[in-house]
Symmetry: C2
Subunit: 246 residues, 2 copies
């Protein structure tokens, strides 16, 4: 069977997965491109369906899944990239397994999908235990977040929570919670990280929310030696996570 009509019911449903609300209602999300599908396969994600454009070659493991072929026009309709590779999949959302956490990253209201994806990729590289997204942070299943994460959304547990609650829980478990801020903050290099450390990073424009700052154990900053006003939040996250991890 080959779906050739963009009016097809299934095509319309896949397109609805571009919307956050529909993703959470159905607990599914869309990924696209060979590299991401490979990462999803290697990390045992549950594939509801793999959507392949007619004429595209795919790896042999794909054949064991539920594959639906579509025309080029239909693929373009469901694709969210400028140069579609002709392969996509619908993946079921998973609850992340409970882990023994040591290093946790908390993200308060990160707005830019590229920033969030890159930060998740860096948290994965730095060997952090999990990433917790505050309510104001962009959705992790947004296509740009998934792409920028380069598959790291499948490698590291990602949770959504009210950060004030999360901070309290982490502190009960013996975590030292750092918040990044410019005022009354110490240079990060002057603080020796605890074995269990969590860091809160904030919105690109306005930084970490004042209530969350008041709950933190340590206020830290990365010094600016030149004339730049600030660092990009992804860069700040990278510097701090690698400092803590080492």
């Amino acid at each position: 069977m080959l779906i050739t009509s963009v009016q097809n019911k299934q095509v319309k449903e896949w397109k609805k997965l571009h919307e956050r609300k529909y993703r959470y209602e159905t607990k599914r999300f869309l990924i696209e491109g060979f590299h991401l599908l490979e990462e999803a396969f290697k990390t045992d994600q549950i594939f509801e369906v793999i959507i392949v454009e007619d004429g595209i070659n795919y790896p042999s493991w794909v054949e064991e899944k539920n594959v639906i072929k579509v025309s080029e026009q239909v693929f373009k309709e469901i694709s969210q990239t400028e140069t579609p590779q002709g392969i996509a999949a619908v993946i079921e959302m998973k609850e992340s397994a409970a882990t023994e956490d040591k290093h946790v990253l908390l993200l308060d209201a990160i707005q830019d999908p590229g920033n969030l994806g890159t930060i998740i990729r860096t948290a994965d590289a730095a060997g952090f235990s999990k990433v917790v997204l505050g309510m104001g942070t962009v959705d992790v299943y947004n296509d740009k977040v998934i792409r920028a994460s380069q598959g790291s959304i499948f490698h590291i547990p990602i949770e959504r929570a009210h950060l004030a609650d999360e901070i309290a829980q982490l502190q009960q478990k013996g975590f030292s919670v750092w918040a990044t801020t410019l005022e009354k903050a110490q240079n990060y290099r002057d603080i020796t990280p605890n074995k269990k450390t969590a860091i809160i990073l904030g919105n690109e424009g306005s930084g970490v929310d004042a209530t969350l700052i008041s709950l933190a154990d340590q206020l830290v900053k990365i010094p600016i030696y030149g004339q730049a006003e600030s660092l990009n939040v992804g860069i700040a996250a990278g510097i701090l996570m690698y400092y803590i991890r080492n």
Copy 2:
């Protein structure tokens, strides 16, 4: 005078500044938006002209410059942003003044304008002395580079050079030159930086060119503790520059 025609000769010339070749022929480039104009003013850049959309309010210092007003339609024509702020300027390129260099960043074939802009912003923040762009690196006067740098292109000397020559010159001046690579490289944290240190970072996909690696004094890597295949080049640059600066 108000320019209302997109066919106007001057409008066409401003648009030609979107092309790299024309920028270097005329030694001028275009910037856009209040924040960048403010940064250019604060750092004593030479304004050839400031282009203001009719009806837009501007800071008082603008009046002392050569201002040309244009219609909304004309401004859209010369703008390279999705939501134009209605203010732009043509700036003359400057030779960067010779400085006593201590920390130098060399960029070999960075392709993504957003990456380059963010790296320049981070080099500025980390107090690096200058950034040297290899021939394969995207043009610093590209509008996306300028925007992502958030004005840091006006704060830190940026040169264009053959990196092999630049490495030889730096080594003669007593610099230790680090190249980032995955093979035969040491963990950066195991190396104590020289007072004069330069780092080479490479292309997003293929890394630093093999010839340049062979010229370096130290091969360094940032360890990957998780399952990510690599770090984003901007994040790697941030971690290494702050490590060296401290």
